[in-house]
Symmetry: C4
Subunit: 315 residues, 4 copies
């Protein structure tokens, strides 16, 4: 039946049930194909390589787009049986629309769209050819550690936005200042505020190319102040992320301790509970030593509650 | 009555009472106008654009200054009815003076003063024209996240000042050292200690333009040591801010937990209390998960207090 | 009597007793003189300024050295009555030797020695003239925040040393690698490993002057890897200091809480205790809000121990 | 007997038992020799020095390789008596293979192999000569602080890998973008994506050589965005390490407190226990103040347990 095939496919894509291994193999194959594509696009841009291997690059592109298109359609088709979307009430079409609009599905679409457009329209737009590189974003699907990293950015989103705003204000002020002080001496490099922004950006981020530098004493004095400000500028996102990462570690440890606390009802842990906690420990990225300590501490506490602290009798 | 109009205006500016929405619309409109002004000033500096659109830029400037002046006068007039200044004893003039000297009011004044001066005096001072850019500071009025960010700088003010002092000392020592070692070989670039400071600043902040570099072996050796020192230099403000941000997160969480603790008297929370805590949670930037956990923990603790710890009987 | 004058002087230098204000005025005057000296040395290096104001600079130098010498001798003479050295058993000479060898006294000596040498010997050693700049180190005597900052460096000394060692190893490996790959193409810039170190240092510290860059494809590949490594290199000292600063904040708060705990014996604080805690709070750089909370928490805890938790009777 | 000599050697290498001092002297001598070798290799690369001192460098090399080879063979031979390998069941050959494959032994082998190859084959491969520099890795054997530092890297390995992956993706996207925008104007510098990577790498790591910069307005706009992204890029590893270092400090303190808790059974500590804790304190790098506080706190807690919490009687 079609329904069963679709369910199987959904399980393979999700890597659950009996198809955990099949899902893993599929993932690995797709990651390898994406990597291969990225390398091909990079090498293709080298004129000498492109001249010799053009047919091979084209072949790889056609095959890749075919596979990615197939994958995209298959995911779209099977999405209605995914645990996440199966819960949505309504027709299959509605569920597919939900999936269609999910970030991961949109990334998959963007990864094949430029190439499909090129095959449909006879234009050879080099611009679109490089857009195939967006395929690398498909890899985000597979990295758990990266998702944790992105979480830190998300947690600090409002603070980072504020930092970005401060940066913008400073950027504009620095550009204006250097424009006022230098545009008479160097009209080709500081001829307008937008032109002066190139210097201001390179300086405030401490990149410091040095292709454009102030020459007047006042310009250098102002430039020196901007370099000092840049240290504070760089410090803000770093400080925000450092504290956010610290928070994440604390929260994960706390989460684990809470889980241990819940599992220990009777002052002991059975094997299935230990397995569950071990899985959780792995998922949260805690060390074994730390996890064992948390469990031991909780067991001791629990046990000490059962007995009176001074007479030793069971309460 | 004049009094009621003034009170209304004060409420609009504060965004309180019935005028929350009106205040929000006014804020958004003013933010948009400030942004438009900044973009105009930046574009105006491009000669080719300025040639064509000069009348439009002038018109925008006249309108903007008119609006900002009006806003400034209105705020000054209505300030006596603001909750903050209404509490000050004395005449309205005294309250207005208080408002007049507040940082936000001064920023508003600085934002219009250059243009007003230009209109009054026929001089076309380009320097003053760019000063209109200070208008961006008006935006600080609207960003809560930025105020939190600035708080971190304030908390570490004395440490950052000390870091700045260390930086200054190192800057002077580095300038002197490179001056001694290089000013015979490169009299045009390291001809005096102030000239050598340009190199020292670019190096100690790791900007590293590369327009001025030591050439002698000893100069390069000294320069290499300075680059190493620069790593420590950059690390200080970053480290200070990182620990300050961590502190802020900790304090906010603590503050929320204390609030929860206070709200829970009877081992339960009613709806208005939950609403209050939700508002506080939002204001402190805590995640819902974390807030719920804090509430749950406190409820459990409270409930466990209802039973005696040693006899197990209800207290 | 000579003894009383010496004691008075010691109190002025220490800023204790009745001479707190006199000590403060003396400190401020000396700081101003040091600042003036540093500015003079910097300006003196500008040929055009030095030509015109040479007599003035010389006069300032003579006066400054006279004052600093006098200060040095006075401090040395009065050191035997300083609370710190008065405790040392033995003759006054022994105490003076102790003071003579203390870091602050050595800095004071170094600050005047070059100038004294120049006055004694007729040689006009420019090198020694710049050494007078070491006078800025005298300022460390006056900054408490800087001493706290230096404490963080001290706390992490062994880790920072290890980081420095890793840096050295990477520096040597990077220099060797680029030397191997580039010294045939650019024998003037990468002609030996010490020469290649200039590039390696500028790259590993992310200064990146750009006066020396690899040109061969392999050299650029290797250079790219080194730039990546540099990110990790810069991250180590920053991370160490960030965690060290966090620790310091935590320890200071803990220290305050312990002090509060000790002061509260009877479940209450009298005025002298509150004053003592307020002074401690200021010294540790804690906010009033936080300090009040710590006191309140401890008071509550203390009081809750006096009464039974369930029956409310006094225990 | 051969066996006893081997055991003695193993103890010297391990620095245990009666041979602690002998082990320490051997370590210091070997560190000095490694340092001397590194300096020699660096200086040897300077043509003018190499011309004059070639015989001396060769002599040092021969002696060093002889000593390091001897050391390697001795370590291999004595490894069977090392406490770590003595525990492995099986023949001595099996234990030696275990040692042979350990990282430290492999480093020792790599440090001598290039020179041995050069002596065996008459080819004078400069590449191999520089490989002798890998000898510096032998120093890792001696630094405890560095091993703690590397631990922090290990703890955050998965996050740092994810950061590296994000970096790679951004690197490819930045290279492609700048290639598209600039390769028509600067075909020599942005002629292919791999060539454009040189700019992207220097920019994303904030090194910013400035030998290659975008020239078109769009290229500069894109470049400006990349410089902004670079700030986030640099912030990730720094933030990760900062939080990892904080964690390490916390864990070490926790570990010490647990040890104190275990040692205090009877509400007091005897001298051998205090010595044990002092050793642990040193090993964990905690300050004496902190350690004393931890011990005092635990003693107080323990003592407070001796009295009943509700009746106040001695338990």
């Amino acid at each position: 039946m079609s329904s069963t095939a679709r369910q199987t496919l959904a399980q393979v894509f999700e890597g659950t049930g009996d198809y955990r291994k099949a899902g893993h193999i599929l993932d690995t194959a797709l990651i390898a194909l994406i990597m291969l594509n990225v390398i091909a696009i990079v090498l293709e841009s080298v004129p000498s390589i492109n001249k010799v291997y053009y047919p091979q690059f084209l072949l790889l592109e056609v095959i890749s787009v075919a596979i990615f298109s197939l994958e995209y359609l298959a995911r779209l088709w099977a999405s209605v049986d995914k645990s996440k979307y199966a819960a949505i009430k309504g027709s299959n079409a509605k569920r597919r629309l939900h999936y269609f609009l999910s970030p991961l599905a949109l990334i998959d679409l963007i990864a094949i769209l430029p190439s499909l457009l090129m095959f449909v329209f006879p234009l050879d737009l080099r611009f679109l050819r490089v857009l195939r590189l967006l395929r690398v974003f498909k890899l985000t699907r597979y990295s758990r550690a990266m998702q944790l990293l992105l979480q830190a950015f998300k947690d600090e989103a409002s603070s980072l936005l504020a930092a970005f705003f401060i940066m913008s204000v400073l950027l504009i002020l620095a550009s204006c200042g250097i424009y006022l002080l230098e545009h008479d001496i160097q009209p080709d490099k500081f001829g307008s505020i937008p032109a002066a922004m190139w210097w201001a950006m390179a300086t405030l981020t401490t990149v410091g190319y040095g292709d454009v530098v102030p020459l007047t004493p006042l310009g250098k004095l102002f430039g020196g102040v901007v370099t000092l400000v840049s240290m504070g500028m760089v410090a803000i996102p770093t400080g925000l992320l450092a504290s956010s990462f610290s928070e994440q570690i604390r929260k994960r440890r706390q989460f684990f301790e809470d889980a241990v606390h819940e599992q220990i009802h009777q002052g002991s842990l059975d094997d299935s509970q230990r397995l569950h906690l071990e899985e959780l420990r792995y998922k949260l990225g805690l060390s074994k030593l730390e996890a064992n300590k948390a469990i031991k501490t909780q067991l001791n506490q629990r046990n000490s509650h059962l007995f009176c602290r001074h007479c030793g009798k069971r309460q």
